[in-house]
């Protein structure tokens, strides 16, 4: 199924769509409040965008610098061309350490690489320690949002899920009690896992350190109790200097949830005595995207999710309708780079309203890229024959004034005589909307009568 079909399914329960829309709109409002509390907000966005511009222009150099510094710090650095290589590297580290169970904090990169599925096939037990991710993991689902993975779940449903898996009381939907149950369950996980995997929010070239941002402290809990720490990062996560963090940390969570900063912004520089630290740098299509002039600055993304919260389409279709680890507007410009055929529907899942571009903390021109992806996808033969034929026909009519006037006159006349020709169930417009009432006279006809040419 494609995005329109899944969105149609989502919309069959209108009350739920309203709830989903309101929930995310509330997050957008919190973001607005946080942004408006900083008079320098627009300058911060521009600064962040420029820093990332510099990074993308010199990525190879910064990566080498980062690797050298990380190695000097005693971190083991690995490079993965694609998702499969990344997953194999993680598996190899698990084998080398004779570990068959691990704890993982939030990492959209591992979702992108489908690491959990791969490791499950290898007989490795993975527990996601971010509460939202744990919820969707228990439910056998993928996250529907990059920052709020279970935003599509109501607390009563989470109560039922926890009753089934964690033994909470039936019918209990009290967030505090449910969170307490999850905490006990995860504490046991933290204490018994020898290997912890985290994502990376920012990797600093000048020091070789990396920063992981969480609200729950789950990344730290996992890592501090484990003998082995694996950090997986996309190669675009580099920033040149530590001082640049001040810009990004101020923007990230204000954009994401309206908080001034994440509860934990943890710096990892070198393994503690007795611990091993692995860092996997993953390309997985990023260098291809870097080579696409029109789309390269999509790699500026810091994964705040603000574009999803503001997107009127995302709010009314849900994250799963995008069928991509990263959903919403940013997902719609990243995913076609990975697979044009699979994700050909996504750049069209937008009205091009431009709100995403305005909230983006690194000023990615998201809606312009959606427009450009539409052109690329058509050129690459992804449009259906029916669409191509109808576009060619429409263009031919509009390119010829005589034909256009004739088609308009005949069309309006037919609509007046036989409204059922267009007001029927074959016309998708008519499902929820009346057709406009065709006037007797077009403006062109009126003008010819009332004004001298």
């Amino acid at each position: 199924m494609n995005h329109p079909e899944l969105a149609e399914q989502f919309n069959r329960d209108e009350a739920r769509v309203d709830w989903h829309d309101e929930t995310l709109w509330f997050v957008r409002q919190k973001r607005d409040k946080a942004a408006h509390s900083l008079p320098e907000w627009e300058t911060l966005r521009e600064t962040a965008s420029q820093i990332k511009h510099n990074v993308l222009g010199n990525l190879a150099d910064y990566l080498v610098q980062f690797e050298q510094n990380a190695l000097a710090n005693g971190v083991q650095v690995h490079w993965a061309t694609n998702a499969a290589e990344h997953n194999q590297l993680v598996h190899q580290i698990l084998l080398d350490n004779q570990v068959d169970r691990m704890v993982k904090s939030k990492s959209m990169l591992t979702e992108e690489c489908h690491l959990n599925d791969y490791l499950a096939q290898q007989g490795i037990d993975v527990i996601d320690s971010d509460l939202g991710e744990r919820i969707v993991q228990l439910a056998g689902e993928a996250p529907s949002h990059i920052v709020l993975p279970c935003i599509h779940w109501k607390k009563e449903e989470i109560g039922a899920l926890f009753h089934q898996h964690l033994g909470t009381e039936a019918g209990c939907a009290d967030p505090q009690i449910l969170t307490g149950a999850a905490r006990l369950h995860l504490r046991d996980t933290f204490l018994t896992r020898r290997l912890a995997l985290t994502g990376v929010n920012f990797a600093i070239a000048e020091t070789g350190e990396f920063v992981v941002c969480t609200n729950e402290g789950n990344a730290d809990m996992g890592v501090h109790l484990a003998d082995v720490h694996i950090a997986s990062m996309g190669i675009e996560k580099i920033i040149p200097r530590r001082e640049h963090l001040g810009v990004f940390l101020r923007l990230l969570t204000r954009s994401a949830t309206g908080q001034p900063i994440t509860t934990y912004s943890s710096h990892f520089r070198r393994p503690r005595p007795g611990q091993t630290m692995h860092l996997i740098l993953v390309d997985n299509g990023r260098s291809v995207q870097l080579g696409r002039d029109d789309f390269r600055n999509s790699l500026k993304c810091i994964r705040c999710g603000a574009c999803m919260n503001t997107c009127p389409v995302y709010r009314r279709s849900g994250g799963h309708s995008y069928q991509s680890a990263v959903a919403g507007p940013i997902g719609a410009i990243l995913a076609p780079n990975l697979d044009m055929t699979k994700h050909a529907d996504l750049p069209f899942a937008s009205t091009l309203c431009g709100s995403c571009t305005n909230v983006c903390p690194v000023k990615i021109d998201i809606h312009q890229q959606l427009y450009k992806w539409r052109q690329v996808l058509t050129q690459e033969g992804q449009a259906t024959t029916a669409k191509t034929v109808s576009m060619q026909a429409m263009n031919a009519v509009l390119s010829n004034r005589g034909l256009y006037s004739l088609a308009g006159r005949v069309g309006r006349q037919l609509m007046r005589w036989f409204p059922a020709l267009v007001s029927n169930k074959l016309n998708p417009w008519y499902t929820h909307r009346e057709m406009p009432e065709p006037p007797k006279e077009s403006f062109g006809e009126w003008y010819a009568k009332h004004r001298k040419p």
């Binding site: 329109p4 969105a7 149609e8 989502f10 919309n11 209108e14 309203d18 829309d21 607005d32 942004a35 408006h36 627009e42 009127p312 389409v313 009314r316 279709s317 069209f348 937008s350 009205t351 091009l352 309203c353 431009g354 709100s355 571009t357 305005n358 909230v359 427009y371 539409r374 052109q375 996808l377 058509t378 050129q379 191509t388 576009m391 060619q392 429409m394 263009n395 509009l398 390119s399 004034r401 256009y404 308009g408 309006r412 417009w429 499902t431 929820h432 909307r433 009346e434 057709m435 406009p436 065709p438 006037p439 006279e441 077009s442 403006f443 062109g444 006809e445 009126w446 003008y447 004004r451």
Partner: protein, 243 residues
């Protein structure tokens, strides 16, 4: 100074009263207006669907029709934005570039070029303004709620000059209506839901009329209003300013 009137194809065919109001309003304000009769469409329906490469003939036609006027004014933010961003011709792109710079959406033309400060219009109704995205976020005819920047609105400036008009406030002042060109049929479910939600906001605040600078958004909202049997109607801002 000659103003060339560009009337979007669907306005020409379905909403001639909007084009007439635009023409009359400009003339009332002392403008010399011509309507190049060979015009058809800006090309946006094809381009937004991924078929921009087909639209060169339309772009050529546009430049040929409007190459000789001082200003090109259209009662549509969306078509004006498309022309400003994507008028790609097969020859003489420099000429097309000059034409692009002369394109104005109606309300920005009235506030920025004509510099209207009074109007004789009278519209004694409670009116909700739908901020069409392309005029607002594309042409910047009004400030956007996402940005930390001083508020302004060219359409509101003009509506405030209309006698008797009461402008209502909205819970979401600049959320998209969900029309989106071919999006309205390709993503029918979401499009219709977005339209319903926009209307609910206007109705909740007692709108008798919903106005805007783009008839395409209003056509979509009108379709939903009529399906609901609502007494609230849509009216293009040109019709109010010319009332």
């Amino acid at each position: 100074m000659t103003v060339g009137l560009f009337i979007p194809c669907y306005v020409d065919q379905f909403y001639p009263q909007v084009a007439i109001a635009t023409l009359e309003l400009l003339e009332k304000l002392g403008q010399t207006v011509v309507f190049p009769t060979g015009q058809t469409c800006c090309g946006q329906p094809m381009a937004n669907s991924g078929f921009e490469h087909l639209t060169h003939t339309l772009s050529n036609r546009f430049v040929e029709q409007f190459g000789g006027v001082d200003y090109i004014v259209s009662p549509s933010g969306s078509c004006a934005l498309h022309l400003k961003e994507h008028l790609h011709v097969t020859h003489d792109q420099a000429k097309a570039g000059q034409v692009q710079q002369r394109v104005y959406e109606l309300t920005e033309f009235l506030t920025d070029i004509v510099q209207v400060n009074t109007l004789s219009a009278n519209f004694p109704h409670r009116v909700g303004l739908h901020q069409s995205c392309h005029g607002q976020r594309g042409l910047h005819i009004a400030q956007m709620s996402e940005l930390v920047a001083p508020p302004f609105s060219k359409p509101v400036e003009l509506l405030n000059m209309v006698t008797g008009l009461e402008l209502i406030s909205l819970d979401r002042p600049d959320e998209c209506c969900g029309f989106g060109g071919t999006f309205c049929v390709l993503e029918e479910a979401v499009s219709a839901k977005m339209g319903k939600d926009r209307i609910a906001d206007h109705l909740r605040h007692g709108a008798e009329f919903i106005t805007g600078v783009d008839m395409s958004c209003l056509m979509h909202l009108e379709g939903v209003l009529r399906r609901q049997g609502s007494k609230t109607n849509v009216v293009h801002i040109a019709e109010i300013l010319n009332s």
